[in-house]
C-alpha cells in the first residue's frame, strides 16, 4: 500500500467534548478505595475500543491501542520489569507532561509478559492491523536514574535482552509491527542528543529472532547528526519527525531502499490544521526518496499532546492527504 497511514503510539484519553471521562473517574475512585482494578480494566477496555474505532474511522490503516492503559511509557515498563523503583517528577523531554523518574536499583530483567495481553485485546477489537509500541532501551536508560550498573552500556544491554523477549512473544502471538520508541536518540530542544553507539551495540540483540516488522521510532527532534549510520541499524523501518526535526529531511536523502520510512508529517503538538493538499505534495516529495510502498505516513509524535477532537482531525487529515497522493499517481 502506497503511503500507508499510521500513528506513532499514544492517543488522547479524554473523551470528546461533553463526553464522560470514565477512565479518569474510575482511577480517582480506585485511589479512594471506591473502585477495583477490575473496574479500571473495564474502563480501559472501553477506551481502547473507542480509540481504535476512531482511528479506523478516520482512515488510519495501522493503529495502536493509544497506550490507553499506560500513564506513560517509562512508568509502564519500569513497573513491568524487575529492578526498578521510582523517584521525583521529571518533565518528558520538551513537553508539559511529567512522569516519576524510574530508578534502577537491581539488575534489570523481564519477570513475565509486559504488554502482550494489551496487544491481544487491541488486535481482537480492531478491523485493521495493530502496531505495538515498546519503549526503546536507550530511552528508558536515559530517562532513569542508574544506581545499579554505573555503566550506560551494561544497563542498555540488559534492557535490550528483556525487551527482545517481549518483542519475540508479541511476534509469536501475531503482532505484525513492533515499534521501539527512542525519542532520546533525537536532538530535542533542551536535551542532549542520544548516543547512537550505545543502541548500536545492542540493536542486534534487541531485534534478533523477532518475527515481525521492527521500527525504530524517533520524535520531537532530528536524527541528522547521527549520519547514515542511523539507518544502518538492524531495524526494518525508521520513524522520523519531519515537523520538530527539520534536519530530518536532509537526513533521509539516500534512505536505504530495503527499509521502511515512517514520515511524521502532521504536527502532533499543535492544534493548527495543515492543508491536506500541501501534505499530499509533501508525500509526493518523500516518494521521490523512498519507494511509496515502503513509505508510511504518520503524525510527528504520539497524539496524546492534543485534545481528542484535534487528534482525530489530524488522523483524518493524514488519511485525506494519503488518498490525494494515491489519487494523483
Amino acid at each position: 500500500m502506497a503511503a500507508r497511514v499510521t500513528v506513532v503510539g499514544s492517543y488522547p484519553k479524554p473523551p470528546h467534548e461533553g463526553g464522560e471521562f470514565a477512565l479518569r473517574r474510575t482511577l480517582h475512585a480506585l485511589d479512594r478505595g471506591d473502585a477495583s482494578i477490575v473496574d479500571v480494566r473495564a474502563a480501559q477496555d472501553d477506551l481502547v475500543r473507542g480509540v481504535i474505532a476512531e482511528q479506523v474511522e478516520a482512515g488510519v490503516e495501522l493503529v495502536t491501542d493509544g497506550q490507553a492503559r499506560w500513564d506513560d511509557p517509562q512508568t509502564r515498563f519500569a513497573e513491568g520489569l524487575e529492578g526498578f523503583g521510582t523517584t521525583g517528577l521529571l518533565r518528558y523531554f520538551d513537553t508539559n507532561t511529567y512522569f516519576r523518574q524510574p530508578v534502577v536499583k537491581a539488575p534489570v530483567a523481564r519477570r513475565g509478559h509486559i504488554v502482550l495481553d494489551e496487544f491481544l485485546f487491541a488486535r481482537d477489537h480492531s478491523a485493521v492491523p495493530v502496531k505495538q509500541t515498546l519503549i526503546g532501551p536507550s530511552t528508558l536508560a536515559a530517562l532513569s536514574v542508574d544506581e545499579q550498573y554505573g555503566d550506560r552500556g551494561a544497563l542498555v544491554s540488559d534492557l535490550a535482552v528483556a525487551l527482545n523477549e517481549e518483542a519475540r512473544d508479541l511476534a509469536e502471538a501475531g503482532c505484525e509491527v513492533i515499534a521501539f520508541d527512542e525519542p532520546a536518540l533525537a536532538r530535542i530542544p533542551g536535551s542532549p542528543p542520544g548516543d547512537l553507539g550505545v543502541l548500536g551495540d545492542v540493536a542486534d540483540r534487541l531485534t534478533e529472532g523477532v518475527g515481525a516488522t521492527t521500527v525504530l521510532q524517533t520524535f520531537f527532534g532530528d536524527v541528522a547528526e547521527h549520519g547514515p549510520a542511523f539507518f544502518d541499524l538492524p531495524f526494518d523501518g525508521f520513524g522520523v519527525d519531519l515537523v520538530a526535526g527539520p534536519g530530518n529531511l536532509e537526513a533521509i536523502q539516500g534512505f536505504p531502499g530495503d527499509r521502511i520510512l515512517q514520515a511524521g508529517i502532521v504536527d502532533a503538538r499543535n492544534t493548527r490544521l495543515e492543508d491536506p493538499e500541501a501534505l499530499a505534495r509533501e508525500i509526493e516529495r518523500l516518494a521521490a526518496v523512498v519507494d511509496p510502498e515502503r513509505l508510511w505516513v504518520s503524525p510527528s509524535a504520539g497524539l496524546e499532546y492534543l485534545p481528542r477532537e484535534a487528534a482525530q482531525r489530524k488522523c483524518a487529515l493524514l488519511a485525506d492527504a494519503a488518498r490525494r497522493f494515491r489519487g494523483g499517481r
Binding site: 488522547p12 484519553k13 479524554p14 467534548e17 471521562f21 477512565l23 479518569r24 482511577l27 480517582h28 500513564d71 523517584t87 521525583g88 517528577l89 521529571l90 518533565r91 520538551d94 508539559n96 507532561t97 511529567y98 512522569f99 530542544p189 533542551g190 536535551s191 542532549p192 499543535n270 492544534t271 493548527r272 496524546e304 499532546y305 492534543l306 485534545p307 481528542r308 477532537e309 484535534a310
Partner: protein
C-alpha cells in the same frame, strides 16, 4: 520582620471541598458565577487567616479563583480560545488554551484579588503572575507565526498586569516561569521576555521554575532579570546546592523544602537540615523558605501541615542565627 529566612509560598493552595463542589456545580449550571465568587472569597479569607495565624512572612492569596495557572490568564486575555483536556501527569489533565488571535489585555486580571488578600493581613501579599514563556509553551498557537512572536506579545500584557499590581501597592511580584527549564536553546528568549515584564518594576521580583534540567540551566539561569529565583530543591534532592558552591548563587533564592507531590509530611528536622545546608552557600537574608511548588495538589490538611513544618523549620534556624 527580620530579613533572615523569610517564609513564603510558591502560589497555589488547595481548594476546600465546598469550593471544589461549587466549581462543578457552576460547570453544570446549578449555581451562579456570583455564588461561586462568594465562596472563592471565603476560601481566600480562610487561607490568608491561616497564613496570619502560623506566621508566614510573605503571604499569597492562594489562587482559589484560578483553575490552572495558564488557563486562568488565557480566559482573561483576548486572543485565546478554550482548549480541550490534555494529560499532564498520571491521571491529571488540564485544559490547554489555544491562541487564535492577537493577544490583548482588556482589563486588570489579578489586582482585585490581590487587594482583597491584602485587606485581610498586615503582612506583604505577593502578586502572582504566570510568565509569558510559560503561557505560550503551555498553549497551542494557531495565530502567531513563531514562538518568539507569541512570547513577546504575552510579555507586554503580563508587564501591564505587573505594573498594575505595583501601582496597587504590591511589594513582591512573582512571575512564574516553570517552563523556562524546558528548552535551554530558548533560554535567551525567556530571559528577554521576562526582561520586558520586570523592566518597569521597582519592587522585589521573583520567578519560579521547576522540573527541568537545572544542571544545564545553571549558572545561566542567573541571567533571568529578577531579584529572586524560586526552585524546587526537595524534588531534585538538593543536587543544585553543590553547583552553588562552585558557582555562587547571586540572587535571593526561594528554597523549596517540602515536596508538593507526596502525602508524607516532612519533619521539622528535615527542613532545618535543608536550610542549614543552603546557608553554607547563600546568606540568610537572601533565603526565602517555602514549599517546592504550589500546594494545590495536596489536601487542605496536608498543605497546612506542610506549611506549619516550613514555618517551624525556618523559625528554629532563625533562633540559632540570632
Amino acid at each position: 520582620m527580620s530579613d533572615a529566612l523569610r517564609t513564603t509560598q510558591v502560589g497555589s493552595l488547595p481548594k476546600p471541598d465546598y469550593l471544589l463542589r461549587a466549581r462543578s456545580e457552576l460547570a453544570r449550571g446549578q449555581i451562579t458565577r456570583e455564588a461561586l465568587r462568594e465562596l472563592e472569597r471565603r476560601a481566600t479569607r480562610e487561607w490568608v487567616e491561616f497564613q496570619n495565624e502560623i506566621g508566614i512572612d510573605v503571604v499569597v492569596d492562594g489562587e482559589q479563583y484560578r483553575g490552572d495557572m495558564v488557563a486562568f490568564f488565557a480566559e482573561e486575555l483576548e486572543g485565546f480560545s478554550r482548549g480541550g483536556l490534555v494529560r499532564s501527569y498520571g491521571n491529571r489533565y488540564y485544559r490547554k488554551p489555544i491562541i487564535t488571535g492577537p493577544i490583548r489585555r482588556t482589563h486588570p486580571i489579578t489586582v482585585e484579588w490581590w487587594g482583597y488578600a491584602r485587606s485581610l493581613t498586615d503582612r506583604p501579599v505577593k502578586g502572582m503572575l504566570t510568565g509569558p514563556y510559560t503561557i505560550r509553551d503551555w498553549s497551542f498557537d494557531e495565530h502567531y507565526d513563531t514562538r518568539r512572536d507569541a512570547v513577546l506579545a504575552l510579555a507586554e500584557v503580563i508587564r501591564d498586569e505587573a505594573v498594575a499590581l505595583q501601582e496597587a501597592g504590591a511589594e513582591y511580584i512573582q512571575i512564574d516561569e516553570p517552563a523556562v527549564s524546558t528548552r535551554m536553546d530558548e533560554l535567551d528568549l525567556a530571559i528577554e521576555a521576562l526582561g520586558v515584564v520586570t523592566e518597569p518594576l521597582t519592587v522585589h521580583t521573583v520567578t519560579h521554575i521547576c522540573y527541568g534540567d537545572f544542571h544545564n540551566a545553571y549558572p545561566r539561569m542567573l541571567d533571568l532579570p529578577v531579584d529572586q529565583i524560586d526552585l524546587e530543591l526537595t524534588n531534585s534532592r538538593f543536587d543544585l546546592l553543590d553547583r552553588f558552591a562552585e558557582h555562587p548563587f547571586t540572587k535571593s533564592i526561594g528554597l523549596g523544602v517540602v515536596d508538593v507531590h507526596s502525602h508524607r509530611i516532612e519533619t521539622v528536622d528535615e527542613v532545618v537540615k535543608a536550610i542549614e545546608r543552603t546557608l553554607e552557600v547563600i546568606p540568610p537574608d537572601r533565603v526565602f523558605v517555602d514549599p517546592d511548588c504550589g500546594l494545590k495538589t495536596r489536601s487542605v490538611e496536608e498543605a497546612k501541615d506542610k506549611l506549619r513544618v516550613v514555618v517551624e523549620g525556618a523559625r528554629r534556624v532563625r533562633e540559632r542565627l540570632s
